[in-house]
Every structure is written in C-alpha cells, then in structure tokens.
C-alpha cells in the first residue's frame, strides 16, 4: 500500500466517522427537540397511571435505560457509550426484549430478500442496458421506455400490483408473511419450500425494479462510450467489434460499480415498504410496528442500522474507487 493510498483511506475513514457522529447525534437529538416527545409522553403515561408495583418497576427500568435522571448531554454521552458497547436498549412495546435481539431477528429476512434482488438486478440490468445501447432500434426503444418507467415508479407500486394480481385475484402465491401461519422457522425441507413460496413475490417485485434502474444507467453510459473518440478511432483502425465492445463495456462499468455499491447501502433500508405490503418479517415490518406502538428505542435502533449500512456502503465505494482509478485517488487525496 502506497503512502498516498494510505492517506486517502485515512482521510476517508475520518470523514465517515464525522458523518457517523453527525448521524448518531441527529438520531439522539431530533426526537428530543420537540416538547412532548415519545419518551416524555411515555413517562407522563406512567406517572398518571399511578405507581402499581410492575409499572413503577418498568418506569425505573426506563429511567435507568435512558439515564433520565441526568441532564440531556449526560443522556447523550450515555447513549454514545451504549452504542459503542453494542447496546441499543430495550423495546417499549415488546418489553423486556432487547432492541438488538429484535433487529437481529429481522435483518436476515431483509437481507435474504434484498441481496439477491440487488445482485441479480444489477447483472441483468447491465446486460440488458448494454445490449440496448449496442442494438438500438425497436429493441432499444421498447426496453428503454419500460426500464425508465420501472425506474421512476415507486418501488412498492409493483409490490402492491403483484400482491393483488398473483396472490388475491389469481391466488398462486400466499398473500402475507415470510412463512405459513402456525409453522416456525426450522431447518427442514418443507419449511424451506414454504418460505420460498412466500419469498418469490416480494423478491420478484424488488428484482424487476432493480433491473429497470440499472438498465437505464448502463444504457446511457454505453451510448455515451460508443460515441466517444476512442471507439471511432479503434473502429477506423479496423479493430474487431467484439474487442471494441469489450473496451466500451469496461469503461461503462466503472460508474455502474458505484451504482452497485450504493444500492448495497440500501440493503437494510431500501425495501421497507415492500415488507410492509407483504407483511414480510423484516426490518420494514419491524419499523412499522415500532412506529405504530410509539416504541422509541426500537425506532432509533432501526434508523441507526439503516444509517450504518448506508455509510459503510459509501465508504466501500470510495475505497473501491480509490483502488480502481488512480486519477481519483491522486486528485482526491487532499480533499475533505
């Protein structure tokens, strides 16, 4: 590792730590800025309800959990220390379940849904986009309009339509949940098939939208590259089409790699509504339930996970770019 590259990584790292600190600060202070915030409201409810033995115990637990006996900055420091120790507190609505446990149960479902959709969508989208740019004509026009429409409609629109058509109007797929009611997650063939049956529809809705977005980006990059000087020059030298296409594909891929990494950042927070539409047991449904129950620690835990995922992906993009493109590495090493 060269010293410039190391300095580049260190500046980036410092930059993302600042962003993380800013995000965590917002995560803590935003909800507390407004009087009558959820924690206050909850406390008021407890105080009004008189001090039954169990209520006062819970109340005590909240006081210790949020260090409500300290001033605001003291609470914030305690919050930072707890985050650092990987402790996100206990849920209000599912008390005494730990927020980390609840999130830990939901995240695998979300990742199982999102990761294959993002990766497969990226591969298929890029191939289709490059093909459209190369072939032009009717194929390109049809594909472009379809892909543009898919990439501009909200991602949950397709989920709602698919749910209605393929689970209600023509009930081929189950209409809710990650597995059948009455069964429990276990390592068995029948559970796997059942889960797969529930999985396909939300997965399909995410995949199709992902293909659309990637195809639009790749098509315009490839068209831009196909019209550039080096392509004209290579063609006029008599270089074979195949080889020229190889160059074009490689150059057009560079921004697409950023696109991939950025969509990986939406791994946790990018399909919230899809999960709500399908009542899928992931982070989206968890967040939805937490919001409806005014479960403040759980909401804060989910938002923190979403932030960390996005920052991590951005950091990886910068690292990958620094490694792939030496010009960027040199130009940016002094910046920020």
């Amino acid at each position: 590792m060269s010293p410039t590259f190391r300095r580049y990584i260190l500046t980036k790292l410092a930059w993302y730590l600042v962003a993380l600190l800013a995000a965590v600060t917002l995560n803590f202070f935003l909800p507390r800025l407004v009087p009558g915030n959820p924690v206050d409201a909850l406390m008021a409810r407890f105080l009004q309800g008189g001090a039954g033995a169990s209520a006062s115990k819970t109340y005590q637990a909240f006081i210790t959990q949020f260090h409500l006996d300290r001033p605001l900055w003291g609470q914030f420091l305690a919050y930072l220390v707890n985050i650092f120790r990987g402790d996100l507190g206990q849920s209000f609505s599912l008390f005494p379940a730990r927020v980390t446990t609840l999130i830990g149960q939901a995240v695998p479902w979300t990742i199982a849904l999102q990761l294959p959709a993002i990766l497969l969508g990226w591969i298929l989208g890029n191939l289709l986009g490059a093909l459209a740019a190369y072939k032009r004509g009717a194929f390109d026009r049809n594909l472009f309009v379809t892909a543009l429409a898919l990439s501009s409609i909200p991602y949950y629109a397709l989920a709602i339509v698919l749910l209605y058509v393929l689970a209600v109007a023509i009930p081929v797929f189950p209409s809710a949940g990650g597995y059948s009611f009455g069964t429990f997650p276990q390592l068995s063939w029948s559970f796997f098939l059942d889960a797969l049956h529930h999985y396909l529809l939300p997965f399909l809705s995410l995949l199709v939208i992902a293909i659309g977005g990637q195809a639009v980006g790749m098509r315009s990059m490839a068209i831009y590259e196909l019209g550039s000087d080096y392509v004209n020059y290579a063609t006029s030298l008599g270089v074979s089409d195949r080889r020229v296409l190889g160059y074009v594909f490689r150059n057009a891929m560079l921004p697409q790699i950023t696109g991939l990494a950025l969509s990986l950042g939406t791994l946790v927070g990018g399909a919230l509504i899809t999960e709500i539409v399908f009542s899928y047991p992931g982070v989206g449904t968890l967040l939805f339930n937490a919001i409806n129950a005014n479960d403040y620690p759980l909401i804060q835990g989910v938002t923190l996970i979403i932030i960390v995922a996005v920052l991590l992906a951005n950091f990886l993009v910068d690292l990958a770019y620094g490694a792939i493109d030496p010009r960027i590495r040199a130009a940016r090493s002094g910046e920020r």
Binding site: Y16, V18, A19, A22, A23, L26, N27, L30, P31, R32, L33, V34, G36, N37, P38, A41, L148, A149, S152, I153, P154, Y156, A157, I160, V161, L163, Y164, A167, V168, A169, S175, A176, S220, Y224, G269, L272, I273, I276, V277, L287, F288, I291, N292, N294, Y296, I299, Q300, T303, I306, I307, V310, L311, N314, R336
Partner: protein, 287 residues
C-alpha cells in the same frame, strides 16, 4: 442560453417533452379542477362499505362508504401541494447554500460544502422518520417543509458547482468593478444564469417529495387529518383492502403516484436534453 422561440421550437419537436408535459398537465388538471367540479366533501359518506365501481360512485367507495374518486382528487391535490412546498423549500435552501458557497469560495465554500456533504451521506429517510416521530401531528405544510429541509443538499451541491464556474465570467467581473455587493451579484448576475437548471431541479424535487410523502405515510408517519395519495394507500393496507380484493381503493392511488413520478422525471430528462444536449445526467440526480 436558449432564446424563448428556440426553446419552444426544440421543445415541440421532442416527443418525450410532449408526452411528459401532457401527463403532468392531465394530473394537475385532475387535482386542481376535480375538487372544484365534484362539489362535495371528500369525507362525505355516499354509499355502502367497499361498494364496487358502478355508474354512481364511478370508482366505488372505501371502507367507510366514501366516494373513492373524490378522495383520489383531493389526495392527488394534497400530495402535489406537499410536493410543491417541499420542492420550493429544497430549491430555495439549495440556491442559498449553493450560490453563497460557489460565489465566495475559500473557507465559506469549504464549510458549507462540508455540511452539505455530511447531510448527503446521511440517508434522508432516517432524518424524516425521526422528525416525523417527534412531531406528533403533522399538517400538509409541515410535511412539505420537513421533506424540503431534508432534500436540499443535492441541489446545493449542483448549484455550487455551477456558481463557481460562473464566478470567473466577465459579466461578474464587471458587476464587481461597478461596486455591486456580493448579494446583489448573486441575485442579478448568478441566479438568472442558472434559472433553467433550477426549474429542472424543482421538477426532480417535486417528484421525489411526492414519493417520499407516500413512503412516510405507508410507514404510518403521514400527514394527520389530511388525504394524500400515500394516506389513501395506507388506509387501503390498514383495512386489508388488497387481500379482500378491493382493488379500486389501492390501484388508482398507486397508478397516480406512478404517473406523477414518471411524468415529472420524464419532463426533467427532456428539459435536460433541450437545454443542454451535451449534458450527461445533469448532476441533479436525487435518489
């Protein structure tokens, strides 16, 4: 800069521009004229529960027997209103931060762009969720404002880039020599040059804001006591309308959200093409 006649000539020839303009105008007409024409309260009960589309309520009724078509008109209008407030707020803040950063350069630019970049990196939906949770009740205007204050950084970044390229132009030097203040130069000699870009940024922000409102509503954080496209969808999901097959309560709002977004994004990309055929992407991508 394009003259108006040349703009119109290029615009009329662009079929993409025409399609998108027609789409946007149709939706606008529906949202603005619709509520004026029906003449009844969207919350009025006009029929039985979940009545299917027929001659009288042409789009059927919802879970409470309210006229779905009227709800849709008011919903579209409020969604666009929230989007417009958010778009205006975002563009204004973006112009303010962007022009000051781009024009003054040096430390001011470093500081403002530093803040902008931090805010771009933090996912807006998270800030929106936290703000909405804190504000127990949210009017349409509040909704628009909180969406606006979380979406300006993209516009600020693009405006700063454009302003700093304008900074070294001769007409700005002349304005400086003739004693104009920095603020005066920004208003008279910088902003007019980026107006076309600001129009495009607004369409993009409007489209994103309408979808953001819908996403927040679906999370249970939509505007309170207001009908919007997102709220209509949220009700639909809440009352299990999808699983009961009551398609007229969720397909129309989904369709309108899609058309608004598709129409505005198409309008944005066709304007991009008309104003600057060489420009790739426009630097204003918002998602």
């Amino acid at each position: 800069m394009l003259t108006r006649t040349r703009f119109l000539r290029t615009a009329i020839r662009s079929s993409r521009f025409n399609t998108s303009l027609v789409l946007v105008l149709l939706v606008l007409g529906f949202a603005i004229l619709g509520p004026l024409l029906t003449g009844h309260d969207p919350n009025a009960v006009v029929g039985g529960m979940n009545a299917s589309p027929a001659a009288h309520p042409p789009l059927g009724t919802d879970n409470f027997g309210r006229d779905e078509l009227t709800l849709l008109m008011y919903g579209t209008r409020n969604s666009l209103e929230i989007g417009a407030i958010a778009g205006l707020a975002a563009v204004l803040l973006g112009v303010l931060v962007g022009t000051v950063a781009g024009f003054y350069a040096g430390m001011v630019e470093e500081a403002l762009m530093g803040v902008t970049n931090v805010l771009i990196t933090i996912p807006a939906i998270v800030v929106l969720i936290l703000l909405s949770v804190a504000l127990g009740s949210r009017s349409a205007v509040t909704m628009g404002l909180i969406i606006g204050v979380t979406s300006w950084p993209w516009t600020a970044r693009a405006v700063a880039a454009q302003t700093s390229s304008l900074r070294t132009r001769e007409h700005i030097d002349i304005a400086r020599l003739s004693g104009s203040s920095g603020f005066g130069i920004i208003v008279r000699d910088v902003i007019p040059y980026i107006l076309s870009y600001l129009g495009m940024a607004f369409t993009l922000q409007l489209a994103t804001a309408v979808l953001t409102e819908a996403a927040l509503s679906l999370l249970g954080l939509g505007p309170t006591n207001t009908i919007s496209l997102g709220i209509l969808l949220q009700w639909s999901l809440l009352w299990e309308a999808v699983r009961q097959g009551v398609w007229w309560t969720f397909i129309p709002p989904t369709f309108f959200l899609s058309v608004v977004s598709f129409g505005l994004l198409l309008l944005n990309s066709s304007l991009d093409e008309i104003y600057n055929p060489r420009l790739q992407g426009g630097g204003g991508s918002c998602d």
